[in-house]
Point group: C2
Amino acid sequence: MGRWQPDSRGRLQEAALALYSERGFDQTTAAQIAARAGLTERTFFRHFSDKREVLFGGSALLQERIVAGVAGAPLADGPLDAVGCGLAAAAAMLGEFRRDLSRQRHVVIAANPELRERELAKLADYAAAVAEALHQRGVGEPQASLAAEAGMTVLRVAVERWSSGGDDRDLADVMRDSMAGLRAVAGGG
Amino acid sequence: MGRWQPDSRGRLQEAALALYSERGFDQTTAAQIAARAGLTERTFFRHFSDKREVLFGGSALLQERIVAGVAGAPLADGPLDAVGCGLAAAAAMLGEFRRDLSRQRHVVIAANPELRERELAKLADYAAAVAEALHQRGVGEPQASLAAEAGMTVLRVAVERWSSGGDDRDLADVMRDSMAGLRAVAGGG
DNA sequence: TAGGTTGATAGCAGTCACTGACATCATCGT
DNA sequence: ACGATGATGTCAGTGACTGCTATCAACCTA
């Protein structure tokens, strides 16, 4: 057996989600999270740059998947179709998680302005990466940024509907619907 | 003469912009801003909820203008046209400010992740308010949210281009262009 | 005009997020 | 064996932000 329990990072993530749910984000200190994970506050901040980031541990991987989806779209596809391929990849990945945990996380984030702020920042990061992937496909500006941002809006709206329980279908279906809604409203005026 | 110099809030905003420009956001303390304005740190936090908010003093007014523009759009207009009216109102208001100050503020925000995060949060607030205004016009979901979010994307992209000096035309012109770009990319697939 | 109220500010003590520097010690390669 | 590595602990410090209390000009009221 090692000197320490394994997967400190994962234990911190679990402890944080539990405490944020039980007591609320503001009423939870980093030291409490660390203690629940059998670690110290200092170690918490070695794994996560701040108190919010502990809820967004999978965002780098999700971004990779989205970008890969965009890059792998058929070359004949237009910008928004390519973004749609990225969204399909995102839906596939998010669908792998236990839905109750996704929902718990969503509730915690929705309840706190600072956490909502961080989630928006993550989406903006995805959008920037997607725009870059579109540039690689020869899409110019401002089309690339607009398609990427619109795509992240679709992602956000779809996950919101799916995660809040308003729509029982697969996330992929909800996302296709939202994408169709965007095309309708933007193209039809 | 009153007991104190007038317009504490405005003096704090000026001092903060100056210090953030000179030394950077991270290297500036709230106490330094307050001292520069002839006040105390405690008073700074009475006027602004946190160190970032001091750069966003006009956001509530801007949101009102945008919403009023949407609400005042011709009833025959579709959702995205109505949002376009809101953007025109925003362009008119932002055009009133001294362009050098707008640019200075933009540079400061662009240089710091926390400030970019706050700006995204403000845009999300605008989007939520615009979606609500669209509901009042009888637009349903998800069309209202999508149109509102797409509109704020157009605002962001346009202000980015305009404020970074890449486009010398009036903000209103740049914004119309960006809106046309969105229609093209979304409608054309 | 005296006296009470209000409102913006100062002063102070406290909590907690976050950081830098250094110590510890199992594990691993040589 | 033994030194290097890496994850963790310990400790001290800065600064954002909050709650409470005191001050005092301006204003209101009788």
